[in-house]
Every structure is written in structure tokens, then in C-alpha cells.
Symmetry: C2
């Protein structure tokens, strides 16, 4: 079965499995049933069995899952058994927060940060060299980059995206509050913080009992 | 109709409507049909009509929507016609990025940042006072806080959440890679950046044609 058959809903649950299995391993849990996993992770047991069935045979009826094996499987399915080269465009607070987040431990190597501020270029942010964004295309022609992270002001986000696309980028992690115009086959993962905060506002008003 | 009837899927689409309508207003667009809106925003026209029908009568058959009216309606439905008091726990890069993001323009007033680092306490981060996290409970008893943002190291996230909950917080915006244990009626909005990046990794491997 190719991964293309898997729905985005399943794909978006994989990191949560990864996180919980990782915590169980740290706590020394060896074996877990789909029912126990269900109680911890908050998906139904049948949902969990269905999710895993997408990727082949995991565990044995009545015996539950071996936590280590399951973790290794999920890790490999997500693609965390390899490394990724990452660049960040925008050496501001968000760029620094991401450079410093600890993604390296998961295999995401942050090779360079780009900015247009002469005061920042040539310096480092969280141990990563800051380069002139003017050499972005040259840098990309000389280095194989898997993921480009955009943390620039929103006004230049599309321009940066266009330059990354022309330079052959295949995936963009977008932190600006703008839906980028991009070719269909480009992977664009948006972290729209404004949307997330607006959802909090909505739920807060709803819980206060307001009526629309 | 109370807002409680609205599904989370609809709620999560509201900020995108807000964003696109805001851009249309800036471009001076007065009126738009659900078909035109559909082409721009990427939801089907019937989806858009259904979404809006949840909130009452918008627009008139054959005439489309008045962009300003629709924007004002969505703005009010989300709850952006009032202000929110926000505190951030954790004066690191992410805390700074959020303090500096511009949420104030949407009515989210960041009142204070809390940290346990003596070198940071008493200083400012992006114009916001940094206070000792030891006085968190006292501060919360003296100030009405709508939203608490957690950007601490993951190891103390649950402890901070517990202290916020005891202090009467109703909504938490969580930036740590941990699912917080919280009462059912607490609003917890997670921004799990690791999950988002793992999704990029999965899609990148999938697009490379690997077979599971």
C-alpha cells in the first residue's frame, strides 16, 4: 500500500501517537492494549486499531501492542528515521524560537537563517549562522534543502515563497498569517497563530453563554 | 440559536473567512458572491452558504454578500468586537515572538509576562513587563485574565497549568509539546509545533514516492 491512500486525518493523528508512545517508553511501559492506549490518548480503541491497520499488521489480538515496536513503526511511518535539512527565513523572535525549539533532536537540522538586516547578517541566532537573504538562491543551489520555514513579516511572505519555489523547494512551513499562492504539488504547512487565537476567543465567548 | 450548536469544523473555518474578508476590504471589494468567495478561499460555495447559515441570514439570493457587513458579522461571531486580557508564562524566544506578533491590533492585550529567571524579572520583553512567576497567583487574584499563554519548558508546563487553573483561568493557549491534563470545561488550545513539523516530514516522504 502506498502512503498516498492515507487520509490527512490519520496523518495528523500520527504525531500524537508518537508523542504518547515516547512518553510510555520513558516510563518503562512495555506493552499496551488498544483499550489502554485509548484511555490515555483520547481516541476510541476502534479508531486506534483502524489507524494502525492503514500501515499493516501491528500487535496481536488479545496481546496488545509492544510499545517499543509500535513507537519504532510510527517513527518510521512519519519519516523520522532520517534527517531533514531546514532553513529559516526571518531572524526575528519567531525564527529564534524555532531555531531554539529542539527540533534537531528529531532529526531536523537547521542549516542557516536568512535575514535582510545588516545588523543581523554574519551573526548567529541560537547557534545558527544568519546569512543575507540576497544569497538565498545561491545558497539553495549549493545545498539540498528539505524544508524552508518562513517567519518574515507578512508583507514579504509571498515574495520569499516565490523565490524558494523557483529555487526548487518542495516544502514550506509557513508562520506568517497569509495563505501562500503555491503550485499544487508543493507541501505548505501553515501555522496560522491568529486563527488559533481567534478560536480561543470564540470558545471563550461561547462558554460565557453568549447567544448569536 | 446558541453558539454551542456550531461544530468545531465550522468554528475553525471562521478565522479564514475573517482573514480573506479583511483582505478584500483592503482591496476595496464591496460585494462578493458565494461562488467568487469560494474560488478565492478554496471552500465550496455550498459549504460557505452552509457555514454562514449557522449564524443567521447573510446576503441575499442572487445579490451576493456585502463584504463590509459580512466581515463585521464574522468579526462579531468570533468575538473580536471586544478586548481580551492575556498573560504569557515564559519569557523566552517564543514568549517574545508572541508578545511581538501584533495580536494587540485584534484586541488581545498582553498585560504581563512571567518567568523564573532573576535576570529577566523586572525587565521588559517587547514592551511588556516581566514579572516573577512566584507572584502568578497573586497577580491573577488582582487582575481579570481571559487567556494564559504557556511558552515554558515542557517539564514545567503541567505545573504552570495547574497553578493557572487553581487561580481560575478559563482558557489556556499552550505552546509546549505536552497535552495538558485539565478540567473538561477549560478551554485549551494547543499549538503543537512538533506535530506540525512531523506532518511536513510525512508529506515530504510521501511525495518522494516511498512505500510503507
Amino acid at each position: 500500500m502506498t502512503k498516498r491512500d492515507i487520509s490527512m486525518a490519520v496523518i495528523r493523528r500520527l504525531p500524537k501517537y508518537h508523542r504518547y508512545l515516547s512518553e510510555m517508553m520513558e516510563r518503562g511501559v512495555d506493552r499496551i492494549s488498544s483499550k489502554e492506549l485509548s484511555e490515555i490518548i483520547g481516541f476510541s480503541a476502534s479508531q486506534i486499531r483502524q489507524d494502525f491497520n492503514n500501515f499493516g499488521e501491528f500487535g496481536q489480538q488479545g496481546y496488545g501492542y509492544n510499545v517499543n515496536d509500535l513507537y519504532r513503526e510510527i517513527n518510521s511511518i512519519i519519516g523520522l528515521d532520517r534527517t531533514y535539512s531546514v532553513i529559516i527565513i526571518g531572524a526575528g523572535n519567531m525564527g529564534g524560537a524555532l531555531a531554539n525549539y529542539g527540533f534537531q533532536a528529531l532529526g531536523f537540522e537547521i542549516l542557516s537563517i536568512f535575514d535582510n538586516d545588516p545588523k543581523k547578517i554574519g551573526k548567529q541566532l541560537c547557534g545558527v549562522d544568519i546569512r543575507d537573504v540576497n544569497i538565498l538562491e545561491t545558497y539553495m543551489s549549493q545545498n539540498k534543502i528539505d524544508i524552508a520555514v518562513i517567519t518574515t513579516p507578512v508583507t514579504v511572505a509571498q515574495d520569499i515563497a516565490d523565490r524558494l519555489i523557483i529555487s526548487g523547494i518542495t516544502s514550506i512551513w509557513n508562520f506568517t498569517p497569509r495563505d501562500l499562492v503555491a503550485p499544487e504539488d508543493l507541501i505548505v504547512e501553515n501555522v496560522h497563530l491568529v486563527d488559533s487565537l481567534m478560536t480561543v476567543a470564540y470558545l471563550l465567548n461561547e462558554s460565557n453563554g453568549s447567544v448569536s
